[in-house]
């Protein structure tokens, strides 16, 4: 890790650790003219937006594109970390009907704020990535699903799409190639569950956002039962740089199994919250202390939720853990959407988990029983504990409840609700016991007063 190379922080170049800036968010490139003139894939030159899409459509075979992306080891950046090139290759090549690309911009995970900046500040990079991806697996239509609250993202991406159509980069003959390519911005209406891939498909088709059974996987039967590739906004925005600079350029960053870079968003009890693009494998301590400015004066680190509210909570001894899929899995958590929520010693973990339980109880779609009932039970138990009614058996009962949800719910929302609770009752049992002891004390006092009253 070389010090002294520029990295980005909320749009400002700093001298620090990460040598790669694949996203041109720094300049806030919103207009097409800017993108064509200023967009850089690599800090050391190779300027020119839409160059990679033109190259792919006019001089490469689809299989070549898939091979490059496969060789780059690009993994999905929405949470699951599945190989992007691999996903594209699952689409049946001989399928006669239409195939679709569905871009997931339903950014809703508490702690996450990365896709919005791409959609708002560099929308053309996303469109360019979508063109390349569609070409690779044989699709002609991309739908970009954006959560309804992101009015600015929707407006700016739509403006960029209109520009790209006017310039002929989208339409019947993009870059003069005989490969029709369409891009449609589609809005959601406030449902976290629609960030789950099959729920998103339901929502795009005009239904309640309920998940669907897999298999058949969307790559075989997705939108309108046609093959559909679902990718995260950040994943697709990384594709043009890989096509332009090559797979080796990408694999030179990060670790052997988690290649390249990741936008990490840091929030919570740090001095300077924000997002940064870091190499996979960067120690968590560097992200928290060097990039996010460390803890507020006089405070100590207590816990980190490394990948958004769905991920298991880690204790304070996680600073040396490398920030990549393997490192976090070994530490007993997940990379998720790389949304690091930092908690300091003034924070009560029970209150945090109560808040998250409220979130999941509200956002559960109600389709399956373990999640619909389980999220509510976990919330009610947390509310009772915080209201002073904690019982000694509560941590064990909560653990038991998570076991009734985890891997038993229809879609990953149940797991997402169960993991933080499960990790909190095992790793931060003392916080629960503090509340339970308070209740015990209060009950004992009440009993003494009652006994005294009786005796008196």
């Amino acid at each position: 890790m070389a010090k002294g190379k520029p990295y980005l922080q909320n749009g400002v170049k700093h001298e620090c650790i990460t040598p790669v800036t694949t996203l041109d968010i720094d300049a806030g490139i919103r207009a097409l003219a800017d993108y064509e003139a200023k967009a850089r894939y690599v800090p050391e030159g190779s300027a020119g937006g839409y160059r990679a899409a033109k190259q792919a459509l006019t001089s490469m075979q689809p299989a070549q594109v898939i091979d490059i992306v496969k060789a780059s080891g690009l993994r999905g950046k929405g949470g699951a970390g599945f190989g992007a090139g691999m996903k594209w290759s699952f689409v049946p090549k001989d399928h006669p009907g239409p195939k679709y690309l569905a871009l997931n911009g339903d950014e809703g995970e508490p702690g996450t704020f990365k896709d919005r900046f791409i959609m708002e500040d560099c929308p053309h990079r996303l469109i360019e990535g979508a063109i390349i991806a569609c070409y690779a697996f044989g699709g002609h239509q991309a739908f970009c699903y954006i959560r309804g609250e992101f009015y600015d993202s929707i407006r700016r991406l739509q403006a960029a799409v209109d520009e790209a159509y006017a310039k002929g980069y989208l339409g019947d003959k993009p870059f003069g190639a005989d490969y029709p390519m369409h891009f449609t911005v589609h809005t959601g209406a406030g449902a976290y569950i629609c960030g789950e891939e099959t729920s998103m498909l339901s929502s795009i088709m005009g239904e309640r956002g309920h998940p669907r059974m897999k298999p058949p996987f969307p790559a075989v039967e997705g939108l309108w039962r046609k093959p559909t590739v679902i990718n995260n906004i950040e994943t697709i925005s990384t594709v043009p740089a890989i096509i332009d600079a090559g797979a080796e350029w990408f694999t030179a960053r990060g670790t052997a199994k988690s290649a390249g870079v990741k936008v990490v968003s840091v929030s919570g009890c740090v001095r300077n919250p924000g997002w940064w693009e870091v190499e996979y494998g960067t120690p968590m301590g560097v992200i928290i202390n060097e990039l996010a400015g460390g803890m507020k004066p006089g405070r100590k680190l207590k816990a980190v939720i490394p990948g958004g509210s769905s991920c298991p909570v880690l204790r304070e001894n996680c600073l040396d853990v490398p920030f990549d899929y393997e490192g976090l899995a070994a530490a007993g958590s997940m990379l998720g959407s790389a949304a690091m929520i930092v908690l300091d010693d003034t924070v009560d973990v029970v209150e945090v988990i109560e808040n998250f339980s409220h979130f999941y109880a509200h956002e559960s779609c109600g389709k399956c029983t373990p999640c619909r009932e389980g999220t509510r039970w976990m919330l009610q138990m947390h509310q009772r504990i915080l209201a002073g009614g904690g019982r000694p058996e509560d941590p064990d009962v909560l653990y038991d409840a998570t076991q009734g949800i985890e891997a038993k719910s229809f879609c990953p929302l149940g797991d997402a609700a169960a993991w933080p609770v499960k990790s909190a009752v095992t790793r931060f049992r003392e916080d629960y016991e503090k509340w339970i002891a308070l209740n015990k004390l209060a009950t004992a006092e009440q009993e003494t007063t009652a006994a005294q009253a009786e005796a008196g």
């Binding site: 170049k13 309804g148 809005t187 406030g190 001095r271 460390g294 929520i341 998250f356």
Partner: protein, 245 residues
Amino acid sequence: MATLELSRIELPEQIKQFVEQRRGRYPTVKALLVPTLMECQKYYGHVAPEAALAVSELLALPYAEVQSVVSFYTMLLRKPVGKYVIGVCRTWNCQHAGARGLIEHFCERYSCEAGEIVKDGLFTLLEVECLCDCSNAPSAQFIKAGHEFKSWWCNNLTPQVFDAVLTELEQGKEDALRERLVRVEAKANPPDDKRWVWIVTTNNQYPAWVEQKDGEYIAHDGYGKLGSVKTENPKLHAELQGALK
């Protein structure tokens, strides 16, 4: 058997155009249901049964199917709201940064509960789940429905700033929701020996370095946004000059 008695309303031209422009993009017209309902939400401020009926006729879908979708999505409100809807995030990052206090402050100011219409139809405060602007906690979104829909971020809120915004909106001031300065602090881990600061406004947090030129402070940030602040947002510029002294 009870029948549904609803009066007919004509959807505005802009919603009809929205649908017509997009029909060809999807293999089924039903796909337009959620975006069209969102357009109704943005136009009317809520989706009344009459509007749902009009949408069901426009898209040739059963009314019950439209309502099943309306009732699923949180943003599609089924009751009328005030002119400005204030969505305050209640998820942990914002709660920890003081969102609970903001909500209580609002409810005290107007002697109301969250969700009520207050001040003769001017405001409705809603507690919403994560708005995904967690670096700018506590985060809130102001929304004004109508022919010209508008939305503003109002982040990094303190009760004082919140009060100032509400008071100016009550007075009908146009730029009440402009970007305001919340605070300026020293940046942790500055990269060099320039004067690095962390500028927190109601839109964003900017790391920037400050230069003094001709008696004025100029803050340099990557968006270039603070560079043009003097002409685009003179009030924020003045607030910055005061804070950087």
